[in-house]
Symmetry: D2
Subunit: 292 residues, 4 copies
Amino acid sequence: MKIGFIGLGAIGTPMAQNLVAADFDVTVWNRSADKCAPLVEAGATQADTPAGCAACDVMITMLADDDALASVVAEHGLIEAMGDDTVHVNMATVSVACARDMADRHEKAGKTYISAPVLGRPDIAKAAKLNIVTAGADAAIERARPALDTMGAKVWPAGSEPYRANVIKLATNYMLMTAVETMGEAAAMTAKYGIEPGDFLDIITHSVFAAPAYQGYAPAMAKRDYDNPEGFKLKLGAKDMDLALAAARAENMAMPVGAAVRERLSEALAAGEGELDLSALAEVSRRHGHLD
Amino acid sequence: MKIGFIGLGAIGTPMAQNLVAADFDVTVWNRSADKCAPLVEAGATQADTPAGCAACDVMITMLADDDALASVVAEHGLIEAMGDDTVHVNMATVSVACARDMADRHEKAGKTYISAPVLGRPDIAKAAKLNIVTAGADAAIERARPALDTMGAKVWPAGSEPYRANVIKLATNYMLMTAVETMGEAAAMTAKYGIEPGDFLDIITHSVFAAPAYQGYAPAMAKRDYDNPEGFKLKLGAKDMDLALAAARAENMAMPVGAAVRERLSEALAAGEGELDLSALAEVSRRHGHLD
Amino acid sequence: MKIGFIGLGAIGTPMAQNLVAADFDVTVWNRSADKCAPLVEAGATQADTPAGCAACDVMITMLADDDALASVVAEHGLIEAMGDDTVHVNMATVSVACARDMADRHEKAGKTYISAPVLGRPDIAKAAKLNIVTAGADAAIERARPALDTMGAKVWPAGSEPYRANVIKLATNYMLMTAVETMGEAAAMTAKYGIEPGDFLDIITHSVFAAPAYQGYAPAMAKRDYDNPEGFKLKLGAKDMDLALAAARAENMAMPVGAAVRERLSEALAAGEGELDLSALAEVSRRHGHLD
Amino acid sequence: MKIGFIGLGAIGTPMAQNLVAADFDVTVWNRSADKCAPLVEAGATQADTPAGCAACDVMITMLADDDALASVVAEHGLIEAMGDDTVHVNMATVSVACARDMADRHEKAGKTYISAPVLGRPDIAKAAKLNIVTAGADAAIERARPALDTMGAKVWPAGSEPYRANVIKLATNYMLMTAVETMGEAAAMTAKYGIEPGDFLDIITHSVFAAPAYQGYAPAMAKRDYDNPEGFKLKLGAKDMDLALAAARAENMAMPVGAAVRERLSEALAAGEGELDLSALAEVSRRHGHLD
């Protein structure tokens, strides 16, 4: 199976590596071409343009945001370059509006598009343990499945309209942001009573909150070491929260807790913590507690 | 080992049953005496007054709230009735102020008090899988440990001052309330886009949020069946949230997300959902989404 | 007309002074007796106990909070000491529960009680420009009216059940706290764009927001000088907000905006600004904006 | 003085009428041409295109939003059509980003642009009592001043960079939205205690909150009659709130109270109240109180 892979960021790179390691015929492209070198070394082919990845069975895009995807599609005639049987699998986190627009454009061009956003951070991607939410035509998902199964632990089908997978992804990230914020608030509150954050976090992440959403962020909070290149950058969390709130707002769906969490993300950004791991949200609560 | 057990509510009853089943010599008391019958049938002794449970190695109180504890202690001379070696193990969820007051009173009377609140719902109590957070003198905790080990999966020591265990319990319940509210908001938001709540909840509780805080409430949300006698009553969740916010407020610790969640609990209470399981919070979000 | 006046705080003192200046026969009492001296100098009589103020036509209480009122009433047999025709006019800000309890106790004792909380700060009290919300039996309000008219610009009748006046007072203070917080947020937001807070506040308080709630706090915000002995202490604002939220909660009435404002008050208290004027809330927003 | 006037909406129409009545030489344009008829009848000239309004001393734009302004400017070559001495006075509520972009484009084209958003509703515009916040070059403001003085009660200069006036306008509208929401919450809370909303609103709008922000919306709340063609449509309030929050977010300025208010606006929109006057926000609180 021939796979095109566009976008070699923190999560895209290990995903592509896993495809190469599984002996798929992978062609890669990235805006900063130097990111391609390790993949080429592992056996991938490097394309000169995004369109060079389009003549394949499965074309995966894993770009930073709506704008990055839109500009790659528009500037490089990506949809036109796709083969009639190529399935475009957009695995990035994009807005609901963007997902709908992509589905429309592909349909008008007679091409095939599915959304397949991933749940998990870079380390999970590296371990090929991602949860992948897919939506689009069943046949298209099936054609992409060998690639998806290689990158993830489980594929969750979410219906025939691609945007549905994106809604689920955004709702999940909204929950994640709230979980991490809440854990930070609770750790600071207990710290006001003299309890070591590490002790508190140890209890909850081994009992009521023994799940990746908490276990993936508690150790950094306990150590107060938020400089994690394989983490989930706080500023990207804020971006995802904006997309989730925009999806809610488009339906006039009030999300008061989400709105409160978004303001805390602003506080962290104002403090210059946007490049740190999302767990740095705990520092906002610590400052509120005047704990240092 | 002789155990006194005061308070046979939804969680207290299975805890006491497990002690009886483990062949401890258990004496029970409950304000509504009829709750004692099943325990007596299983082998427990019924006391006429709370003080009748006090002549023992470990006296466990599991009363509904601060007021219930205070009135039992005051009206029945409970502290005075304790033996010199009796350890009073308060396993109920009480306020930080109440825990401090209890510790003071016992100390002044030359008696021994520890806090040992539990994490878990009635079904977890029945399965003896509770997580028990303990704080107080090490020796006292050790004396109570055979009983604690019988009722719980794990005992988490949290320091020598009893109120610390209560702070941890309240912070955990604050997180739980927020987790359930968030899950409800996210399920309603995705439902606005045509996704079945059960499908969404299935994905998240088997991936990023695969923890009791979510798995224990998602099925009821999916089925929209909140009438669960072994559940966690929403009105008790609101009470715990008030205790958590009071603990934060006593330290001038801002908890904006908790405050937002508390208002949602008010919405559910206003809709007459206080007696339902906490998962009924999802109905608040559904109403906001005009989903019915 | 003989008037008893109990409680000579920041607002009580100028109110009592205005009564003395209007030639009423005024007897005063205050826990810290030294506060009575200026009143005595102006012509008032000083009582040794609160009960010494009770043999009068109109007995005004202006105590700090529920507890202060309850303890004066309980310790000094205040209700019993009232004459059969004495009208107890409670002008302090107390909880709805306290107001109801007071009305009950007076009724049981065959005495007369009305609530008459005031809208306005110490400077307004000094100028006898208070707005006074009254509730209770019409005849009782009429008997107290000469005194009320002397202290205030306008008396607003609010029904026959005393607690109603307190509900209105608490709702008004909730709005006030929110108005001041909002003004602080907006001033900080415009300051991020280089606009002097004084310039912004000048525009709004002379146009859309030309009302005491804003004009009374904007100058201090503009000068960032919050040390105002005649102001409204921020910590008392937090206390009033708690009473307002408690009144809402007792009816399961969600107040999400009020809840958010309460957390900002916590931030100010945590920063040690509780003794400053309420306008110091603006500093919370300035810190969020990293404006210094 | 020759004036071009583009955009005859609910506020633009009375503004233009006042200019015509003051004997300025006014040329008008509106997308729906029928809106021009009353102006023409009063003495204005109707232009066939927006550019037909550009050959004048003062060209006023009063379009619905950023997009409307951008499309009129782009499609009709509006900036190019302006005379060298024409001052473009944008009086509409636009985003900070839009205001900055407009200033840039005019500067590049050697043309003159100022921002002059207005505070006030249609009835205030009709009475020529608007408060007008202006920012831009002093000389340009002075050239426009005769027109501004005709339409408003007062002109507030806010510096030389046009976007500053827009920031002030957005911050003011953020405060307005919060004021109206707060008034609705307070009225519902007092109503839970049996107080007629009209009675409560009467007290506060004649005392602590005696300002247009409250007095302009309280009567509709008291009557629960929100169908006001000269009012401020709730959906436009939500739009302005989004612009204010976007301006805050661009500076990472947390606005938790504003965020909470925005969610209430969503509730009103979800209930189909977007076309009603902003005072309909009170119905959200009434529903929370189950008052009907």
